[in-house]
Structures are given as C-alpha cells and as structure tokens.
C-alpha cells in the first residue's frame, strides 16, 4: 500500500534523526553558551497577527479556519513569532533579549524543484542591540555555531538592504524607476538592470555607479570609492567588520548586491555559503522596524540556518563531493555511462 505524503515533506528515520540531532545539539550548546535561551511558539498563528510583518516571498502559504471562523496560518519563519513574543511577553524587560529556536516552518513550493514545504530552522534573535555591535554579535555566534558543527569551508556574504535604495534616493532617481531597478536586482538579472538603467534617463555617471556597486563582492576593498551617497550603509558595513574577531572577519565576503527575499530587513543582511551546496545554507540580517509593528520599537538582528541544508553541506564536505566540488576534473564523481548518451534528444 502506498499512502503518500505531500511533496516537499518527509519522514525522518532513526539514522538521519541521529545525525540531525547531533547537529542541533551542537548548535544549541553554542547558542546557550552565548546567552540565547531557547523558545517554542505555536506552529499555528492568527493570520491577522503575522500579517503585520512584511514577509514578501516568505509569507505564510497555508491557511485554515478555526472553530470561530478566524484565519490561522502555519508560520513560515520564527523571526516574526518571536517579534510578537517580545512585544507581548517582554514589553518592559531589560535589554538586550537573546532567544534561540529549533522549529519547523512551512513554505509554499514550486512543483518539481525539490523545495521543502516543511523545513527545520535553527536560529537566534538578538533584540534591543543596535548596529554595529548587535550585528557583529550575531555574526560571531553564527560562525562559532558553524565551526562547532565541523563545517570547514563556509563563507558569510555580507551586504546591506538599505545600500541600493540609499544610492538611488541620493541620486534623485524617480520612484517609478527606482522600483524597476530594484525589481531587476531582486530577480538577480544584471542584463535587465543594465537595460533598465539605459532607459532611465540618468546621467552616465549614475548609470555606471548603479550597475557597478551591486555587482561588487569580495574583501573590504569593495567598499572603497563609493561616493558619499550611501555613507550610512557603507560606514555601517565597515564598522561591523572592524568589530569582528579575526577568525570571523576572515569568513566575511562583502556582497553589495545582496538582497534577501524577505521584506522586513532594514540594514545589514547576510547569507551563508558553502562550496558543498549550490544554495545558501541560511542567512539573516537586521530588522530594526519589525518590532515596532508589534508595539515595541526595538532594533533587532537574527539569523536562521536550514538544518537539512547544513546537514547536506557537512556530508558533502566530508565526502568531498558537494555541489561545487563534485566536478568534471575532480578525480571522483559520477562518470558518464554510455546509456546516458542516448539521453540527448534532437533539438528543434
């Protein structure tokens, strides 16, 4: 008998559970050592409450009615529920507040793309600690946690969600054009960005700057010679970097085009990359406006790691066969079988 489960969900059996548990235990130990207390929140929340946050692409995808007709949603992340907890349960507590969580979140998927509908996230939220100190602390905890799991080759891409908007604003780019440019950046389409800039009527100098800056990534040198137009974001990134201990700073790649697909980020944003995986393992950033929407305006920063992705990256590093590692030219890895050659179909 086959009793199917929804695509993007899965049963986790003892061998895998044991490995996943080892990872989460390690992460929990590091989070606790840094003073982050673990919380649970309900998987189901009122839609009207979570809606206060601007989730963009990561907004809740599953809705049900309760017995009185109110709309409940399955949470799509833990940052928004924790913002609610802080505003309601810690409305006058001393700051900063430090929380960690290990929780399943639920997202909509595109068919046939291997995306998880249910994903286990591990993360922290640091509330009431402004930039740059709070950001530096979050990055430090992130690196200590990943180091403790034994992940070796990871890097942190660090950008600032306010950089591109600040640049366009100080260049006096009209609102309609600004949204069009941002749209191309969100789509990761630099060809489209170049076209949109060419049609924008902006000066050649402005066009060059707006095309160049979001494509910069690398060491601190990428922060050099950006005109004063986005001083706050650039200075902010620099001061975060200066606060990091050397072992953490070494992991950072500045990425001035980094845009996360969740709407509530306001300042520094970051993604975790590992060569064993073709997609980020996790990420986070500052969300200084989110708490205010729940009634207690406080600066905050946090990150979430996809535990399954971290598990895949660890296994990939161990075998030396991750996505960007198992490559033609590498000694191991699958060789093309002769049967596979028949797979090429004539093209129209």
């Amino acid at each position: 008998m086959i009793h199917p489960i929804p695509s993007g969900t899965r049963d986790v059996l003892p061998d895998e559970t044991r490995e996943v548990r080892a990872i989460t235990d390690t992460l929990r130990g590091v989070f606790e050592r840094h003073g982050y207390g673990e919380v649970y929140t309900p998987a189901l929340e009122y839609e009207s409450v979570l809606e206060r946050a601007d989730m963009a692409e990561a907004r809740p995808a599953y809705r049900v009615y309760d017995e009185s007709g109110a709309v409940l949603v399955l949470r799509s992340d833990m940052t928004v529920p924790i913002a609610r907890v802080v505003a309601t349960r810690y409305s006058s507590s001393e700051l900063p507040l430090r929380f960690c969580y290990f929780a399943h979140c639920y997202r909509g998927v595109r068919p046939q793309r291997g995306q998880p509908r249910e994903l286990l996230q591990a993360g922290i939220e640091l509330v009431g600690s402004p930039a740059p100190e709070g950001t530096a602390e979050a990055l430090t905890v992130l690196c200590h946690a990943l180091d403790a799991t034994g992940l070796k080759d990871y890097r942190i891409g660090l950008g600032d969600a306010s950089l591109f908007p600040a640049l366009t604003a100080s260049l006096g780019v009209p609102q309609a054009v600004r949204l069009g440019l941002l749209e191309q950046l969100v789509m990761r389409d630099f060809v489209g960005l170049e076209q949109a800039l060419a049609e924008s009527g902006l000066s050649g100098e402005a066009v060059e700057l707006l095309l160049d800056v979001p494509q910069r990534r690398g060491g601190p040198e990428v922060l050099a010679d950006i005109p004063d137009l986005a001083d706050e974001a650039v200075t902010g990134l620099r001061s975060v970097h200066e606060l990091l201990e050397p072992a953490v700073a070494e992991r950072v790649i500045f990425d001035l085009g980094l845009i996360r697909n969740i709407g509530y980020y306001t300042g520094a944003v970051f993604d975790v990359y590992d060569p064993a995986l073709g997609t980020p393992i996790g990420g986070g950033g500052r969300y200084d406006d989110l708490l205010g929407r729940f009634g207690r305006a406080l600066p905050a920063v946090g990150f979430a790691l996809g535990v399954d992705r971290l598990h895949i990256a660890l296994a990939g590093e161990e075998r030396g066969t991750g996505a960007l590692l198992a490559r033609p030219g590498a000694s191991e890895g699958p060789q093309p079988g002769s049967a596979a050659h028949e797979a090429i179909e004539p093209l129209s």
Partner: protein
C-alpha cells in the same frame, strides 16, 4: 588543457552550440573535442558539460555548473515575476547578454483574415498552441486577451493548420518555417539572445574568477549573430 579560470560551464547543444563554442575558443579553451564529439556529455579537462538549453538553468541553479549559457526564451519560460512568490524564477544570476542566437518570440496565425481575432470576437477566447506556455499565458494576460493555452512538444506549426488552435506562440529566427506553413507573424513579443548565467553561490565564492571572465567577454569584438 584546463577549464577557464577553474570554472565549470554548462554549454547548450542545439542552435546556441556553435556560438557558445566560438565564445569558449575565444577565451582560450581547447574546443577541438567539444566540436568533434557530439555524443559526449562531460568534457572534464576543459570544465564543460553539455545539455539541452532548457536544462542549463536546472544544472546551474543546483551548482552542478558554476556558469551556463542559455537562451533568454528559456529563462523567461522558467522565470517568474518579481515580488510574486508563486511564480518565482530559477535562482540564478543573469550576468551578460552574449548577443548571438538572436530570435524573436512571436504570435502567429494562418495567412488571410486573422482566425484568432475572429475567435476572440465571436467565441470570447482564442486557442494558442506553444512550447512556451508561461510566456504565452503571461503575454496574452498582459495584453488583455482570454486564451486557452495548448502545450505541445514539437512542430507547433501543425496545430493551427489542423484547426486545433487559432494561433501559436513560438520562437523564430528567420520566419522561414512559418512562411512555409502559410503562417504569418501577427505580433512580436520579445527578442531573445544567448545569456550567461551563474549559480548564486559560485557567484560569491568564485567572484574573482567570474568577474575576470566577464571582463574578457565584454572586451571581445561584438558578436555577428553566431
């Protein structure tokens, strides 16, 4: 012989193949085996894997290749609209318009009075056959016409000739096949060329290698249509 800057590149078989091989040769890659062996898929010494153009975004998104070349038509068909979670596209960077493989996505129907117009006027809906259902549906929606999209896998030109549909949306380079089947272009939807795409993690972890390759590609003489 070694890969360009140590990068793995997904190369499309088919119409974009020769232009892409020229491009790689221009970067100093030894492409002799790539040209001569059309059964082989994996060219380890030069960091090249070959596949159908529509599979290139899949391999690049997964990180099986750092870079890839594919048509804008493929990216549009597999892509989404920004700020629209349900329709999000492939998670790859589109880095460069390579200029060759120039084609136009068109709406075409049988010569003479446009049967699609008549269907819309009298029946309220037009039937459109295509290999690009998302591009077709999006275009017709944006231009305010009701359409039933019929997805076919091969020779789209057949569909209007048999009366199954009133119009097609298809890619054409010269228009010869359309003309031979007594079809005429009614509307041009979008011009498509070859694009260089990158895996988002490789784009960060191999930034210097990718940027160097981009600089070399930008400095090359303008493509002549591949």
């Amino acid at each position: 012989m070694s890969p360009v800057n140590g990068l793995t590149i997904a190369v499309p078989r088919g119409a974009l193949f020769s232009g892409t091989v020229e491009l790689l040769a221009g970067l100093g890659l030894d492409t002799r085996e790539l040209r001569s062996n059309d059964r082989k898929l994996l060219f380890e010494d030069i960091g090249v894997i070959t596949m159908r153009p529509s599979d290139v975004p899949t391999y690049v998104e997964a990180g099986a290749a750092d870079l890839g070349v594919t048509g804008k038509d493929v990216l549009l068909e597999q892509g989404g609209r920004p700020f629209d979670p349900g329709a999000g596209g492939r998670d790859v960077y589109e880095l460069l318009d390579l200029g060759y493989g120039r084609c136009t996505m068109v709406l075409a129907s049988k010569a003479g009075p446009d049967p699609a117009l008549e269907a819309l006027r009298r029946l309220g809906v037009m039937h459109v056959a295509t290999k690009y259902p998302r591009i077709a549906a999006r275009y017709l929606e944006e231009t305010g016409r009701q359409a039933e999209i019929v997805e076919v896998k091969g020779s789209v030109e057949l569909a209007p000739l048999t009366g199954m549909v009133e119009a097609i949306v298809d890619l054409t380079a010269t228009g010869t096949t359309l003309r031979e089947n007594n079809l005429i272009v009614r509307e041009e939807i979008v011009v498509c060329t070859a694009r260089l795409i990158a895996n988002p993690v490789a784009h960060k972890l191999k930034a210097a290698e990718i940027d160097d390759l981009l600089d070399r590609l930008r400095e090359r003489p303008a493509a002549d249509g591949g």
